[in-house]
Structures are given as C-alpha cells and as structure tokens.
Symmetry: none
Subunit: 230 residues, 4 copies
C-alpha cells in the first residue's frame, strides 16, 4: 500500500479516473477497458483476496494489457480499492432502493432480511470482498473517503421503521437498531461467508435453493420473534 494513503491516488499524469465520481468525457474504448479491468479484478480479488490476487491474472481475464491496469489504477492496491468502492456503492444503492420506510414495519424488517440473503446470493463477490477487507482490519475502507461517506444511512431507516412499529403496537419498544442491524447482517452474511466450512461440517450442501430458502425463513423468524410486540 502506497498510493492509496496519499491524498491523490496517482502522482503521474494518467487519466483522472480512480476516485472521481464524475464520469468525465473519456473515450468509449477507454471506458470499456476500465470496466473490463474492474470486472476481472472483482472476480480475482473476491476469489483470492488481496494478497492472493495476481495482477497478471486480472490482465489476462480482462483481456487488457497489464500496463493498462497501472495506467488506469496506479497499483494493485488502488485497483483493489476501486473494486471495493464499486461493490460497496452498488450494495448501498440497492439498499436505498428498498424504500423500507414506505412499508408496514414488520414487512419492512422481513424485506430487509430477505434482501440481504438475496443480494449475497446474487453477488457472492461482495461477501468475499467483505471478508478480505475485514482480514485487513478495514484498512482500505477506513482510508477511502468515498467509502466512509457511504456508511450508516440504513441505521436511520431502521430507527424510523422501529419507532413506526412501536406506535402501531407491532413492534415492542426498546429495540436497539444497531443491535438489530448487526443481527440481521450476521444471520445473512455468515450463511454465505462460512458456507464452505459449514457444508463440510454438516455434509449438507448449503448452497442449494431449498436450503437457502429455509435458512432465510429461519432468520426472518428469529428476528421477528425478537422484535414483535407480544
């Protein structure tokens, strides 16, 4: 890690990309190349982690010249950061689109749990990027302004859902939104993150749709049993 700690990711000339939100007018070819790199890098980092990922593999899988990776992203670590930022941004965006505040409180919570299971099912790379990042003690998450800005939000939504639920006597009072969020996150995340060791332990293929559905239903029950007013 070098570049990413500096305020300006890459010292040299190069393209302005990396952490600049605005999609400045670059050529379509350039844009495509960068997307190919990001896609291949996401797979590789998700598959092998930061240390295990190989720049050569990313170049080959993306079909672009290795030097292009350095041209656009500066270093392996900065590329990792770009991958992480994109994955996080996409997940947060999906969360925002749930519009939980518009739903019946119980349904909102249910939907949130189900969303998590669904999202991880469809985006297995997210789980592995999170695991990788946690192995690094959130080193890159902490250093990225873009990522830090992205956090929270959901807690506020949960808070309003819970207080609405309380008023409607659907949800018991005193539920801590942070604890609740962590439990929902735990129940969904763990099932995917540890599926390999769990499958081995139980000799059961946890990845099957039937198992997944059962597991999600169980998680919903667990959460609702805890928050429902009695």
């Amino acid at each position: 890690m070098k570049a990413a700690t500096k305020s300006t990711p890459r010292s040299k000339k190069g393209p302005l990309t990396t952490a600049s939100g605005a999609p400045d007018m670059r050529s379509q070819r350039s844009e495509r190349t960068q997307q190919q790199i990001l896609a291949a890098a996401t797979d590789e980092f998700a598959d092998k982690g930061l240390a295990g990922a190989r720049v050569d593999v990313i170049a080959e899988e993306s079909g672009v010249n290795k030097q292009m990776i350095y041209y656009y992203y500066g270093s392996k670590e900065d590329l990792y950061l770009a991958v992480l930022e994109r994955a996080y941004a996409a997940m947060r965006q999906s969360e925002r689109e749930l519009n939980l505040a518009d739903l019946n409180p119980i349904e909102a919570i249910t939907k949130l749990v189900e969303f998590k299971f669904d999202y991880y099912t469809k985006n297995p790379a997210m789980i592995r990027l999170l695991a990788t990042e946690n192995m690094q003690n959130a080193h890159y998450l902490k250093r990225s302004t873009r990522l830090r800005e992205m956090q929270v939000s959901l807690i506020d939504v949960l808070l309003s859902v819970l207080s609405a639920g309380e008023k409607q006597k659907l949800i018991r009072p005193g539920v801590d939104p942070v604890q609740l969020y962590m439990s929902i996150a735990a129940l969904s995340y763990f099932y995917f993150s540890n599926s390999a060791t769990l499958s081995t332990a139980f000799g059961r293929n946890l990845a099957s749709p039937a198992e997944l559905k059962k597991r999600c239903a169980h998680a919903v029950d667990l959460i609702l049993d805890h928050i429902r007013a009695r």
Copy 2:
C-alpha cells in the same frame, strides 16, 4: 498445495509430526521448537491469511531457523494445515468440556452462546483462520482427515438439549438443531469477523468489553425468544 494431499507430507524419514495425533515423546528441544513454530505460524496465518503469510516472518517470530519449518512441517501449506488442525482441535475440545447435556436446557443454550462469544474473544486467531479457510472454500478442512473427524458432535448435543427442553415445556417443539446452531454461530462469529468494517460503519468501538457484553446479551435474547415455549 501438493504435499498435504498425499498421505505422507514429506518423503524423507524426519520427525513423524504433522498428522500424528499422539504427541510422541521426542526430545524436549524438538517439541519446543515445533510449538514455537506453531505459535508463530498461528499468529502469522491468522494475521495475513495463507497467501499473505511469510515463512520468513514465522521463522523470525518463532526464533527458529527457517529450515526447521520445512524439517518439521514440509511446506508452508502443510504448516498452515497443522495450524488449522490444532486450532480446530482446541476449540472442539473446549466445546466438549461445556457438558451442555448436564444443564437445564435454557441454561445450556445460554451457556453455548456465551461460550462462543467468550472463546472468540480469547482466541481471535480462530476467527481469522476460519475466515481464511472459508476464502479457500475449506480446501484444507476438506482434505484433512483429522479435521473431518472432528466435525459435527455439537449438533447431537443440541438435539438432546432441545428434546429435553421440549419435554420440560421450556422449549417449543420443532426447533431445527442445525438452523439453531447456525444462528448461534452466525451471531457470535460475525461480531468478531466483521468488527473492523462494523466499527468503521458505526463509528463505535465494538471491541470494548461493554459493547461485547451488550452484544452477547442481545444474541442470547434473540435465540431464547425464538426457542422458548410460549
């Protein structure tokens, strides 16, 4: 990975270690060297993962000559396997010593949840080794006969606890022990495995004893609210 797939990791005669359950009485010096290597390797693999760990670092941290690592463990991967086996064995042993079957069912479940939080608190390497292993799709767990033999067990205990609880009208019928176990595992594991990203997200230091206690209590509540007979 090469050696670890074969039954005898290292061709030469050398010391018998690696997968020999019995701690055969070899010289104390040798025994000590191996323990030093294992201790340092546990730290290094837990810290950096398999790919990120450096044999040089393990040698230096353990204070033994680098070659000794190859002498006793054959390769970096076989050393990783030895570390994994030892960590797993220790955790399973601790679980066994809980003697859950002897307790009141509700207390047994409570104790299990608290044990998990406690164990991970005291053995942070376990979390990271599990995360590492899951990133590798349980590659080494699957290949180790010792490790495969170690699995399960706890499910059987849970089953008998649940059925005792049912009989005593303390626990509602129909609780799936595997689902329950996974939820307990999820709630405890996640808090530690993802503490880095969570702390960043919430701007709260989750590692503090106070937070830990609160989190554990919440997990117990969640589980008990779900299984208690009403």
Copy 3:
C-alpha cells in the same frame, strides 16, 4: 519436471516460443534475448548437466535478466528441453545436408564417419548434452514430440547406400544398417565423450588434431574392413 510434460508449459499468454517450430517474427530485441539465453544455456547445460547447471549462471552469461528466462522458457527444465531440441535439430539438419545417397557407397560411408568426428569436434556441447540426456534415461527426448519426430531418417539413407553398394559389388551383402549405424556412432561418440578419462588413462592428449585424425582414420578402416566385399 513439471511444465514440460504439459502441452503448454506456461499458463500465461507470454511469448509463444518453446515448442513452436516456426520462428515467428516477433521483435528483434526479443528474438535476440532468446538466442542469448539459448546460447548461454547450451554452454551451461553442456558443461554441468541438468542438475549441475545454474539458472543464475545462464542469466549472467547471457547478459539478460534472470526473470527473462522464466518469461521465455517457463522453467529450468523447459529451457533444457529447448536447448536439447535446438541441438538435435541442428545436428539432424547437418546430417541431412550430407546427401549421402548421391555418393559412391564406400565414399558415403566414409563421409558419414568423418562427418561424425567433424561434427563432434566442432560441437562439443552436443556430446555432453547427449551424455546428460542419457544419464536421465532420455527423459526429455522421450517427452518432446519435436524430438521424437526428428529421429531415424539416417537409417533409411544407410539402407539405400548399403543396397546400392551390394549391387555394385562394393559392399558385402547382409550388413545390418542399424548395427552399422550404432558402430559408427559408437566409434565417433566415445572418443569425445570419454576423452577425459581416456587421456588420463593413456597420458596422451587425445584432443590434439593429429590424434583426432588418426582416430578418425582408424574408425573408417574398421568400418570399411567390415562391410567391404571381399
């Protein structure tokens, strides 16, 4: 040996070299680098054998960065194979250019014997590469399709020379071309391959041009005395 048994020695794309017959027109710089490596490698392998050769030495002698050896040839063993293939191909080519079939039978045989002595004199590496390969039980020769395709040929030529000689009453009937070829090969090869121990034994410098000429003449006599019609 690992890579050389697989069809594609090196997974990455990289340059196409190794077993590609055609000398595809890649950059002159690259071509030159590869030739420098091959030349230095030929010397080193001929000098020390496969096990005794040092990649570092080859890099240094060739004046290229060590990594380039791996870039172009994948591994020490694959480089050895490339050296072997090139040396064999060159010798076979020279043999072909003898056009023995166009000569008077007795002259053809004479020329073949003299050629062998001459070729080994001018290409001492060939002797040592053959010795190395035989020490390895022709491991690489057997595994190389290019090399296997290269064999034989000369036997067919010998056969036609012998039958022409028979018709012309110059050569006695019933000479086995394989036996004859082996004898020619033996008489020429041995003088060079064992010159070190022979020189020591006889206290005579066998490498001198005078000795060489005498030895070659003796070999011609031996062969002709055997095949000539009487």
Copy 4:
C-alpha cells in the same frame, strides 16, 4: 571439492579409512555401515550423477544416519571419490583375471570384447559413473593417486597378444593397441551409455538379451575383420 585435493582427505580425527588400502582392524559394525553407505552411494551417484545425487537419499537408502557419511567419508565429494575408486578397482581386477595372455590371440581379443559387454551388463553403475566422471572432465580420476595407479596395464597385455598373433600369422601386423583398445571400449561402452537415446531413436528395446547378444557378436566381427591377417 575440497578435502579430496588435500593430501589427507579429512582433517578431523575420525576413522582412518577413505584411501587407506589396508583394511585396518575396525569393528565389524563400522565395516558394515561403511559398506552400506558405499553401496547406496554407488546407486545414487550412478543414478543421478554427482550434482544430482542427494546425501539425504544415500543416508536413507543405506539405512544409516547422515552424519555417519560425514564421519566416514568427510564430504559428498570424498564419498563420490570412494565410490569411483571402488568401482574402478573392481573392474580392473576383473580385467586382470581374464588372463588374456594365456589364450590364443584371436580368442583373447574375442574374450576381451565379450567381457566388456558382459561386465557392463552386470555392472550398469560403472557406465554411469564413467559418464559422470567424463562430464566432470575426469576431475576426480585425475586427482586420485589410487586411480591413476590403476590405469594402463591392459594396453600392455593387448600389445603382447597382438605381437603373439602377428607371429602366428593370425593377426595382421601394424595394429595399434591403443586404437584397438579404444575401439573395443567404444563399441561396448556406447551401447550401454546411450541405450536410452538409441532405444528412443530406433523404437527398439536394446536392453533385451537377444539384442545384446547380436550387438556383441557384431562388435566382435567388426574388430576381428579389422585385425585378422588376410
């Protein structure tokens, strides 16, 4: 190579062995250990050459502790020298026992050729040790006083056989005993030393007894056709 260049092979105390002809009164156990080492070392050096041979393998194959090799032979190179000396001595001894001078000259030459084929058939290690030594430019042969003393002899015998043959009009005059010896050596040695590449080239298993017999007969013919008085 270090010790072997010095006048006294090993500086330390140790046993007096190595190059001392006399079988001084050492314990039987010691004697047996040394023989086991020599036997295993002969196989290993013959199989892999000096550079490719592994001290560990010799220790394991001989069933003695590695340190014993150093105790008795000082270094890998000195052990190689001991192996070479023993192999040479044995071959020279067998040659001496032929008593060629007592035979009819033609029979003597025939017997010599046949002996060489027979000896190499029964002692394949000799071929490979010779090849190894020649790859090293007879480095060890030259440096060993014992080995240098062993050479020649056979030339003298040949000389007397040839002159006896001349007198009896069985052998034509003017045959150079050194050239003749080299040819006999070449024809016999080559067949074994290059059997791997030859077998590959001709797709014929040269190691079979039938092939061997044919080859030997051919060699005898070749030699006799050359020296016989006409």
